[in-house]
Symmetry: C2
Subunit: 513 residues, 2 copies
């Protein structure tokens, strides 16, 4: 007895044919009126927007074969639509939809975008960065962006060509949720060379940036009984929002000119802390040797350090600072990414968890997305192996120094009395000022004049001096100068108003980072 | 008064210099012994594996500039390492590490891989697909993979070149968590053309495949009071594991030859169900018109349908079946991806949630990874816009038909008495057999003979006939025939053994899908 096959009679009917294109079934057509029928179906699809203006109809030959009608039927249907003015024949471009009746369904509003509200009013929500990004402005001084115009497009394309040429079919299938072995090896070598970290590739997990690293960590931390993660203050608003979204408390730990105050950390009672030791965000403080040793003692007493090494590669006139991870492997979870090295849009980062959390984190990554996409991982691995990434970084560094200097000069000229913090490294400056003007008001006034930046108070939970966080990496000196000049105008205007109304208390500037 | 800048004296010290490469600080070197010092530091880094074999040292010019030493110092240090045999000069390849002392730290074992255990023993865990993927085999008949050798590498590279040429710097920054607007438009058009779905681009969320869609849905469903998602039986093991990992129950709903039994669905009391209406996994049943109407009534009574449209584009000798989403928008969450269209390694998919869940799902995506990577999204958009994806699908279809036919012929020849299900569409066949041999045993015996496949019982919670799920899309006819021949041998061998031991009950084959 042979196998019983359903090939001839699938799902209890007779074999049929048709086209995926609009699910056309020629059986539905009246015999002798096929061109009419086809034209009608296409017209309907154009009217109800299943076919939008600009979309291309299938080649007549192809559609005729799929529908098992003569090619003349399809040609005739297309001709009628062309006569209506719905489509147009374009020699090599095929037949394209060019017009549709005006009727249209209601547009779904952008979720989570509050276009009418200023991003600087009230508590900043999860969508505040989107709102600021969407706002119109001449000059964008928001922090956290490298010089994206320097993205190595040619090198990326060349590496992609090589990857596509040598890729195995297995590489295109489902992969290791921890990431491509080749990239994990390249990252291990990169971190050894540039960050002083010794780790085997099997100890690394490739993720979609630090945001994902935190998402994967939430359940792992919760399972460990961690209910809160202490954060630096000032410290990144985005990170704090992220931890809170994961149901974790974020007790603040003040930062002074040596780094986070470990006595204050102990006082919070938190069992985990998120730190930026190489270049504190936003103050730029480098955690001192003594403070590092105190942190190691705190970790030895049962604490877990989450090290966000977000922009350590960008340093200018100070010695390189190895990652804390180079001193501590057991009680530390290291996180890095290419967002500041190459581009945030690549969504590639890495985590080196403490060994005891590696398995749980891998499982979390598996269930989240089965692992990062393969092609960009392999392209990045090549850029790391070939030394192109180092070259890119050197190019960026030279450019960033000029931009930083231009911004400092502009601050000197246009924001007299302001104090610049954290200039030795990174992609941004923090500028504090003595004037009695809330920084959210200043940022709002700047935005009204076409300049985007972050108010320092966004990145605080504790009281402290007013200020702005200003990115300088993404734009050329002229643009930066113009932006800071506008900030100066806005501050002068607000100060005048504040003085004339005389309702505010004098400022008490105490914060030195 | 000018701004006070920390530029000259960062973090309270004197300006210093050094290299990110191994965090070298020339201040540490004894004066007059700099080459010695540098050679020592490099040797140490090679010994402790911060510099691995194959890695390239910086160009002498570059390292000398960074350390502010003469180039001769670096050249001399490299020469000493070359004399040790640690490094080798290669004209254009620079100076490369070629050897290191044998001492090495302990290797971290692969988490979640149980190499010694057969994947077919006991309950399949979350890592069972990894374990099967990692197993050595001559022939891989696991389902769910398209013909990856057909991946349009040239078209992909061409589209990537165009994308890199026209990309704005803003495209390289942080983007819309819902996905690139251009891809959402292209997907909306694609789904309108090929799946009969009318949706505005703003109603679509780009995600990292269906696995991520489910992860994002878990908290949204939980917030809605949904504690369980009913699943088809047989139905995908991977999906079921995923739902369970999200803390959701997965009550089974039997599938018959019309699709999932809606009376049984009502009896579970579940408020949500995950379905594969266009081509049920693994049986291949197309949900009938009457059953679709019953499902719509169930949804109207408050149910939510999760439609997993995982391989609907691959259909051969049956008419196209529009997505359920084309009939129902309010109570249905549609999920699709390019995993079966192009390659799983791309990790790109889309969700069309019910409008009331769109905002929560967008926020979940934001916190998970801030949105998919930009470049692959834009490349895919171009392939969709230009008609290349349709062309690719036509090419695949012709190839898949030949492969499917070869597999059916092989089943007829080598698995006499077996019944083939679901041949009219998809990338796999389900084959049931009457012999009294558990399918996990058969799959294990096949793997021992070098052939991978899924036992049907993996994809079941309810009792039913033994069988195998066999992918045919990924390999040419000769390989498939060889694989099925081996399955036949294994089955005959096991049947003989089973008869001679006479301990088993006779089989009761009742399942018709």
């Amino acid at each position: 007895m042979g196998a019983v096959s359903e090939r001839e009679a699938p799902t209890g009917g007779t074999a049929a044919h048709g086209s995926d294109f609009l699910q056309l079934r020629p059986e539905d057509a009246p015999s002798g009126g096929k061109a009419d029928w086809l034209a009608g179906r296409l017209r309907q699809a154009i009217t109800d927007r299943r076919l939008t203006v600009g979309s291309r109809l299938p080649a007549t030959r192809v559609l005729a074969a799929e529908l098992r009608v003569s090619r003349g039927v399809v040609t005739e249907a297309y001709r009628r639509l062309a006569e209506d003015g719905h489509v147009e024949g374009r020699r090599r471009g095929g037949t394209v939809v060019v017009a549709a009746p005006p009727a249209r369904g209601p547009k779904v509003p952008h979720p989570g975008r509050t276009a009418s509200r200023s991003p600087f009013t009230g508590e900043p929500g999860a969508d505040v960065f989107d709102a600021l990004r969407a706002a119109d402005a001449r000059v964008d001084l928001t922090p956290g962006r490298p010089d994206l115009s320097a993205f190595p497009r040619t090198a990326w394309l060349r590496a992609e060509r090589a990857v596509l040429a040598e890729l195995s079919t297995a590489d295109l299938g489902y992969g290791d949720p921890r990431g491509a072995p080749r990239l994990r090896r390249a990252v291990a070598d990169w971190l050894a060379r540039s960050r002083g970290i010794r780790v085997e590739p099997d100890g690394i997990l490739i993720v979609a940036g630090t945001a994902q690293a935190l998402t994967l960590l939430h359940p792992v931390l919760s399972a460990d009984g961690v209910t809160g993660v202490a954060v630096e203050d000032p410290g990144s608003l985005g990170t704090r929002q992220h931890l809170r979204n994961g149901g974790l408390a974020t007790p603040p730990v003040p930062v002074d000119d040596q780094g986070p105050r470990v006595d204050a950390l102990r006082a919070t009672g938190a069992r985990a802390v998120l730190l930026t030791p190489a270049h504190q965000f936003p103050t730029g403080v480098v955690t001192s040797g003594e403070r590092r040793r105190e942190l190691l003692r705190w970790a030895a007493d049962g604490g877990l350090i989450l090290e966000d090494d977000y922009d350590a590669e960008h340093r200018y006139d100070r010695p390189p600072v190895p990652a804390l991870r180079s001193l501590l492997a057991d009680r530390l979870c290291y996180m890095g990414s290419v967002s500041k090295l190459l581009a945030p849009a690549l969504r590639i980062g890495w985590v080196i968890p403490p060994p005891r959390h590696l398995h749980a984190l891998t499982e979390a990554k598996r269930f989240t997305d089965l692992g990062n996409a393969a092609l960009p991982q392999l392209v990045l691995a090549r850029l790391m192996e070939s030394g192109q990434l180092e070259r890119h970084l050197r190019l960026l560094r030279a450019r960033h120094i000029r931009r930083r200097d231009a911004m400092i000069d502009a601050v000197t000229a246009h924001l007299p009395g302001a104090v610049v913090h954290g200039a030795a490294a990174g992609l941004h400056l923090t500028v504090t000022y003595a004037a009695d003007v809330p920084d959210t008001e200043l940022a709002a006034a700047a935005l009204a004049r076409g300049v985007k930046c972050h108010p320092l108070s966004w990145h605080r939970q504790l009281p402290g001096p007013q200020g702005l966080v200003l990115g300088y990496a993404a734009d050329p000196p002229g643009v930066l100068t113009e932006g800071v000049r506008t900030l100066g105008q806005a501050l002068r205007e607000l100060t005048r108003r504040s003085r004339s109304s005389c309702h505010r208390l004098p400022p008490s500037v105490t914060g030195v980072y």
